[in-house]
């Protein structure tokens, strides 16, 4: 099967590249082995949150100038314009966000921490200044028996910052029914129950009955709107007090929504999505990738002029470590393992910067992959699979995913 561009990996990075290229009129196919790490998302995307010492960054665009030479941001032509393009791309997919690249804002974590971030999906609870909370009195309204929203931690975190907090809980008969399952009272199932039974208004009534007007903010778990923002928006409108959502433990409803809406946009632009399939082999000829084989298409080779590898890091199975080495799983391209062996991949304290985090595929200055030391002229890499950055310590996952994808797309269109 022949396409203009084939993208391997259907997460944030692959979809960003896919949409950008499809918008440019290309016939794009996307091969995705299962769902993406957006499912563990916070509803926000980070550009650059922390410096080397772990301190919060206020102006990511400025700070990016200082990142070390191996960081993928060095391969971007114009960070500021790419960041703007990323925000607009989300917008065109129907995902409205707040935030910009010149000043971070702070999202509230499910356990009451504050983390610097770049773009937050509309409706998510954020503050402009981590040292000054904009609320005097907050009602924290959970769904009865929902364990993945640890309200006591959240309350303690907010009180620590001088906010008065009351914890409330609401429920509806349909949610009571879901409670009967000892395992499936998850954010996404709550979203399904509310969505399938049109319960938004009833839920709003419940919230209004416990959180009256003496609160200046109502914070709710992000458990509405898996496939679009209709219900989540509607709920916030129906609540009489200003209200916002805080992320929950995974699976993340805002993350799934972002995934779904990006995929919807990609498909609407005519993109072809190969679901739940894995690329097993690349057909290389003279340092050009001619086509790929997949696990499920048996006889069919997927061919195209250009390819983008956006399969993610270890947890997304783009990278894999066995007893002896670290390798790239789909095409066997060159990996930067920092010259380390198994004994030194990981450090003893889990909170230290872990060497394995910076491992990834090697690329040239145009984000092109290499194989046996030689650049493959039509194979680009984007997102978490790139070497040279630690998304956990530096909080740069969303930015690396989207910006390198857009750059790779630009490099191809050029």
């Amino acid at each position: 099967m022949k396409f203009d561009i084939i993208i391997i990996g259907g997460g944030l990075s692959g979809l960003t590249a896919g949409i950008a290229l499809a918008e440019a009129g290309k016939d794009v196919a996307l091969v995705s082995a299962g769902q993406s790490s957006l499912h563990f998302g916070s509803g926000s995307l980070d550009l650059l949150g922390c410096d080397e010492k772990g301190n919060d960054i206020y102006n990511p665009l400025d700070a990016i100038k200082e990142v070390n030479s191996k960081h993928p941001y060095n391969k971007l032509e114009n960070v500021s314009s790419l960041a703007g393009m990323a925000k607009q791309l989300l917008e065109r997919a129907g995902i409205a966000t707040t935030g910009n690249a010149t000043s971070n804002h702070w999202r509230i974590t499910p356990i009451g921490g504050l983390m610097p971030t770049w773009l937050s999906m509309e409706g998510m609870a954020t503050v402009e200044d981590p040292n000054q909370m904009p609320w005097r009195k907050v009602a924290l309204v959970n769904i009865v028996n929902y364990l993945d929203f640890p309200t006591k931690f959240l309350a303690a975190g907010l009180r620590d910052k001088g906010v008065e907090v009351d914890i409330k809980a609401v429920t509806l008969p349909e949610l009571q029914e879901l409670r009967k399952s000892p395992t499936e009272m998850r954010a996404t199932n709550i979203a399904k129950v509310i969505g399938n039974n049109d319960l938004t208004a009833k839920l709003a009534d419940q919230v209004n009955s416990v959180a009256g007007e003496d609160y200046d903010m109502v914070l709710l778990p992000a458990v509405l709107g898996m496939t679009n923002d209709k219900n989540s928006k509607h709920l916030l409108e129906l609540i009489k007090t200003p209200a916002q959502f805080v992320a929950t433990l995974p699976p993340s409803v805002p993350g799934v929504r972002m995934q779904t809406m990006l995929r919807r946009r990609f498909t609407a632009l005519g993109g072809t999505f190969f679901t739940g399939d894995q690329v097993t082999e690349g057909l290389f000829e003279d340092n050009i990738l001619k086509g790929v084989k997949t696990a499920k298409l048996d006889g069919t080779t997927l061919e195209s002029d250009n390819f983008i590898l956006a399969t993610g890091s270890f947890m997304s199975r783009g990278l894999r470590a066995d007893y002896n080495h670290v390798y790239e799983t789909a095409l066997g391209v060159d990996v930067d393992d920092l010259g380390l062996d198994r004994k030194t991949w990981a450090k003893i304290d889990v909170t230290d910067a872990q060497p394995y985090m910076e491992m990834g595929v090697k690329t040239d200055e145009n984000l092109r992959c290499m194989r046996n030391g030689t650049t493959i002229s039509n194979l680009y890499a984007a997102g978490s699979i790139l070497s040279g950055h630690n998304s956990i310590k530096r909080l740069d996952a969303g930015g690396v995913d989207m910006l390198t994808a857009l750059q790779a797309a630009n490099n191809i269109i050029k």
Binding site: A33, P251, G276, R317, D322
Partner: protein, 418 residues
């Protein structure tokens, strides 16, 4: 030895590769509507560790799994969650299936009984008192309309009207029509013959065809499924020996015979598997290789919404059907977001599942109502029943749409048949 250690994980159905990320639970159509079902993660890899310790950990609620495999499609770590659950049912379940389940599962037996009496059976199955009996005694939901039994089986039509023509062609395929085409909807089989003949392929039936067994597996009758599977494999081997590909027009039959035979039933199909294909895939591949050409009627316009059936998703083959359909020049093509329709073969026919079945499908039905297509295209026959019943929108197999849009004469010319 150290160099060979730990290079790969080979736990059964990859259950140990599970990272406990919970993504599968997002895509399970059952757990949100039935709290009694523990969800794919718990029913699959979580409980499997304990079942290995003690079979007492087997939970009857596993029968609520639709076997839609959407958990497997969603899994980023290639855990065969659905297989783990079905394999556990086969291994540990001690209950004998109910008469109702046996009846629903034996699609070909019931079909054989009903077809000669279609004129009687169809009205009877639709009569309110009969539905009440089915509902009350047999626990088959009264809302369900049994798919009509055709008065003439596809096989009979084929033998009488088509078989003799087929030897004229230079190239040949065998057709596994499946129960649905044979008993309920011979038109699809006729459409298939029409398209294949138009591009120069003769169509042949298998020496002996049994139901693929998907319903038997779902209803807890793996032994019978295995027996039937062996019969199909034997027939297919004979066809393959003649150089035939074995084509189907049902994604579920295809998936069952290619993957479930080996994974769940322990039928050795390795020499047959690659020769079983879906007709849309076969056609697409030939067109791509330049071996055949299709010409379409200029006056054919249709707004078609494609629904990717669960087992089609699992096989990863939807793009073959969709790219084939999009070759029709004036088709207004919409890709629906893939969601389970809720019928899952015989599942939705059972009284206890009816409401859940409809709740599961709601998302899909809403999408279809929003898109307002002329027809929905899907490669699965049971999705057809469910979507037609629930939305009133006609549902067609892609092969039927191709057949309808095909300019047979031009196509024959293009393929140098005239």
């Amino acid at each position: 030895m150290a160099n060979e250690t730990q290079t790969q994980n080979v736990s059964v159905n990859n259950f140990e590769q599970c990272l406990k990320c919970s993504i599968c639970t997002v895509y399970c159509p059952v757990s949100a509507v039935s709290p009694e079902y523990p969800g794919p993660k718990q029913a699959g890899p979580d409980a499997e560790r304990y079942r290995l310790k003690n079979k007492e950990f087997f939970d009857d609620a596993l029968k609520m799994c639709l076997n839609c495999k959407r958990c497997e499609v969603a899994c980023p770590n290639d855990v065969h969650i659905g297989d783990i659950i079905q394999a556990a049912r086969i291994k540990y379940n001690t209950h004998r299936p109910k008469l109702r389940d046996m009846m629903l599962a034996n699609t070909d037996f019931v079909g054989t009984m009903a077809s000669p009496f279609a004129a009687i059976a169809n009205p009877i199955l639709k009569l309110k008192p009969m539905k009440a009996v089915l509902h009350g005694v047999m626990a088959i939901d009264k809302h369900r309309t049994f798919p009509d039994y055709s008065s003439r089986k596809f096989e009979s039509w084929f033998k009488k009207n088509a078989a003799s023509e087929q030897e004229k062609f230079n190239k040949h395929v065998s057709y596994f029509h499946g129960c649905y085409v044979n008993y309920n909807y011979p038109q699809l089989g006729m459409d298939f013959v029409k398209v294949m003949n138009a591009v120069g392929y003769g169509v042949h039936l298998l020496e002996k065809e049994k139901c693929c067994g998907v319903a038997l597996i779902a209803n807890g009758m793996p032994k019978q499924a295995k027996r039937q599977g062996e019969v199909n494999m034997t027939s297919m081997r004979k066809a393959i020996a003649k150089g035939h590909q074995v084509l189907t027009t049902s994604s579920t039959c295809t998936f069952t015979m290619r993957d479930e035979y080996d994974h769940l039933l322990g039928i050795d199909n390795h020499d047959v598997r690659d020769s079983i294909s879906l007709a849309t895939r076969f056609l697409f591949q030939l067109i791509e290789k330049g071996e055949i050409k299709l010409a379409f009627r200029e006056d054919y316009h249709k707004r078609v919404a494609y629904h990717s059936a669960c087992h089609m998703e699992r096989m990863g083959w939807a793009p073959y059907s969709t790219r084939l359909l999009r070759m029709i020049p004036d088709i207004d093509f919409v890709m629906l977001e893939s969601q389970c329709c809720g019928i899952s073969g015989t599942y939705g026919f059972k009284k206890e599942n009816y409401e859940r079945s409809q709740a599961i499908g709601k998302g899909l039905f809403d999408q279809i109502k929003e898109v307002t297509p002329d027809c929905v295209a899907t490669d699965c026959e049971t999705c057809k029943w469910q979507i037609e019943m629930s939305t009133g929108t006609p549902v067609m197999n892609p092969i039927s749409i191709i057949a309808e849009a095909l300019d047979v004469e031009t196509t024959r010319k293009l393929n140098k048949l005239d």
